[in-house]
């Protein structure tokens, strides 16, 4: 074309560029229509006259690094052309979104700081599709997030069921029982020492008999008792750790596989209940229980065990020897059956 022809051509036909500076200091120029697709750049250019020359480059927000910028401009370049059909755009978008999670996050962040809403929508949907259907553990893995919630906070939606009258009743009963316990413990402080010795003998016996899980059981329960006495605070985390072996086993199973809905919620209700009565740990109350009640409790233990579908618990229950020993071993189940019996007693009243 001759010069005169060029002069006739409208200015809009000439490619004009906008100068942009990214967070790392590098300056580049981009076609105007592409860059103007981003509201932030548009605003800067029109209202503040930026980007007209190298010295006057628009500085982009910190979150926009050069790699993301070029991606974004690819997107803008495609979409700012009015001649594209909706189907073309959709196909392009789907192809565009195929990248790893890290880049998706960076892209979302960059697009958001440039106020490019359609791209933010697109990346958000892609991220949502990644999150969909995953367990919390899996999500944490993908996004490399820390597990910084306490057990209590995780169960928070369930906690609001404090309004449930059953739980209120249970709490009242626990308060009553706690008082009784304290009195009894004072009286029995001497007997406690003796019992500790007996237990160690039983330990040896069972170990000799080759029942390894029993040993694990008692050592755990001994630690439990010690821990309980030291940590008489009500934080769920501690009490949950202290709580019954069978629950800890069940919990780990639940956390890895998410397909035990019926079981997991059952022990979560209990966890909630137990968190409320952190001091109610000692199994010494069982000394007063007469054999008839004990049998009933045994039955409740087995019923409970069946519900939890755990053969380990059943085997422990069947091999019980001395009363106090096994009760500590079954500390967890005892506690649950206690709550059941308390509830029954209360209802009978």
């Amino acid at each position: 074309m001759s010069e005169s022809d060029l002069a006739i051509i409208k200015p809009a036909m000439m490619k004009s560029y906008i100068w942009l500076e990214t967070s790392d200091g590098s300056i580049q120029q981009v076609e105007q229509e592409v860059a103007m697709f981003c509201p932030l750049i548009c605003h800067q250019a029109l209202q503040k006259g930026g980007g007209s020359s190298k010295n006057n480059a628009i500085s982009l927000p910190q979150k926009v690094n050069p790699a993301m910028l070029s991606l974004i401009f690819d997107y803008c370049r495609f979409h700012q052309l009015p001649g594209r059909s909706n189907k073309e755009r959709k196909v392009y978008d789907e192809k565009f979104m195929r990248m790893d999670t890290k880049r998706l996050c960076e892209l979302t962040s960059a697009a958001d700081s440039l106020q490019l809403k359609p791209l933010v929508d697109l990346t958000s949907r892609a991220l949502a599709r990644i999150i969909e259907g995953k367990t919390p553990e899996e999500i944490r893995e993908i996004f490399h997030l820390p597990d910084d919630l306490t057990e209590e906070e995780k169960l928070e939606p369930l906690k609001n069921t404090m309004d449930d009258p059953r739980i209120r009743l249970l709490n009242r009963l626990y308060a009553k029982k706690r008082k009784e316990l304290k009195e009894r413990v004072k009286l029995k402080s001497i007997e406690v020492e003796e019992r500790v010795d007996e237990r160690s003998v039983d330990d040896l016996l069972s170990f000799i008999n080759g029942r390894d899980h029993k040993v694990v059981n008692t050592s755990k329960s001994k630690k439990k008792n010690k821990k309980r006495k030291e940590h008489r605070n009500g934080t769920c985390k501690v009490s949950n750790k202290d709580s019954h072996n069978l629950h800890s086993k069940q919990r780990s199973v639940d956390e890895t596989s998410s397909s035990l809905g019926g079981v997991s919620n059952l022990h979560n209700i209990e966890d909630d209940i137990f968190s409320k009565k952190a001091e109610f740990e000692d199994g010494y109350i069982d000394d007063e229980i007469d054999p008839a009640l004990k049998e009933m409790l045994d039955r409740e233990v087995e019923d409970f065990a069946r519900r939890l579908n755990s053969s380990w618990v059943l085997s422990v229950g069947q091999e019980r020897q001395p009363v106090h020993f096994s009760i500590n071993g079954n500390g967890g189940t005892r506690r649950l059956t206690d709550t059941h019996t308390l509830l029954d007693i209360a209802i009978d009243d």
């Binding site: 999150i131 367990t135 919390p136 910084d148 919630l149 939606p157 956390e255 890895t256 596989s257 979560n268």
Partner: protein, 283 residues
């Protein structure tokens, strides 16, 4: 051939076609490639096989077999624990019902999938730091999630937990699930999550949402619901705000096979419902 025999075989093939047609309309195979629907589809396959694989017409058997194979082949891509447990369930059904040759083929496929899965989980051990996104972006992302995924997200980390407590998320979920049957008094400061939870427990929605299926009266078909609505555009326009009638998995299988089995879920309603709020599960 004698005309008598022809007459007898005709109604048989028509019945066969009916079942096969129904199965194809159910679009189980398509759902297998969807990350979210994969476990639901596997469960349906398991139920169908358990209920009476041997009585199925020949070509339907072939379809089921083909879909089981593709389910196992797609397992490594799914990479969620829900998918793995669904596939385990499916392989159990396969083991008990399939004839020897098909069974072996399917199990080989399954084992290959498990090996591929293991390889995948090993390679994802890079310690990268992902950029942190602003809270309102999280809220925007969560607005696209279904109920179970939202609850999972609330247990991921502290910042996610805070983002999920955003009222607008629960308000739109409430609208989606209950607005057609519940009148709610809206006052300033209303806790939408509480409101949603109360209605959810009241309507015992937990079981219904575990299938991914709904019945659309406008197109008269059983579909994979897209956020409680029919995936077909015309039906969505016609139905407006009204969600689909949700169906349980065993109801879908009954519809397909013309049987009347009942669900074998043994947990009580209350426990199942509460379970949602403690540890979200996808069964």
């Amino acid at each position: 051939m004698k005309p008598g025999i022809d007459d007898q075989s005709k109604p048989q093939t028509m019945i066969q076609e009916k079942y096969t047609k129904r199965y194809q309309n159910l679009k189980v195979a398509e759902a297998l490639s969807n990350n979210h629907l994969y476990p639901f589809a596997c469960n349906e396959l398991s139920s169908i096989i358990d209920l009476g694989y041997s009585q199925l017409p020949k070509d339907l058997k072939a379809f089921i077999f083909r879909d089981c194979l593709s389910a196992f082949r797609l397992l490594p891509e799914m990479n969620t624990s829900a998918a793995v447990s669904a596939a385990n369930l499916l392989v159990k059904s396969v083991e008990s019902a399939f004839p020897k040759q098909k069974k072996n083929l399917a199990i080989v496929e399954f084992k290959q999938a498990k090996v591929a899965l293991k390889r995948r989980t090993k390679s994802h051990d890079e310690h990268i730091d992902l950029p942190s996104l602003p809270q309102d972006i999280f809220v925007h992302i969560f607005s696209f999630l279904d109920l179970y995924s939202l609850l999972s997200s609330s247990q991921v980390s502290r910042s996610w937990n805070q983002a999920t407590s955003e009222g607008s998320l629960w308000r739109s979920l409430f609208d989606l699930h209950f607005s057609h049957k519940v009148l709610i008094h809206i006052y300033p400061g209303i806790d939408w999550r509480e409101a949603f939870k109360n209605e959810y427990i009241l309507y015992k929605s937990s079981k219904m949402l575990r299938s991914g299926r709904g019945y659309c009266s406008y197109c008269d078909s059983v579909v994979w619901h897209d956020n409680l609505r029919c995936p077909k555009k015309q039906c969505r326009l016609k139905s407006g705000k009204k969600p689909l009638d949700l169906m349980l998995t065993h109801e879908v299988v009954n519809y397909l096979l013309g049987t009347t089995s009942s669900s074998d879920e043994s947990d009580s309603e209350d426990e199942a419902v509460r379970g949602l709020w403690a540890y979200p599960t996808l069964q």
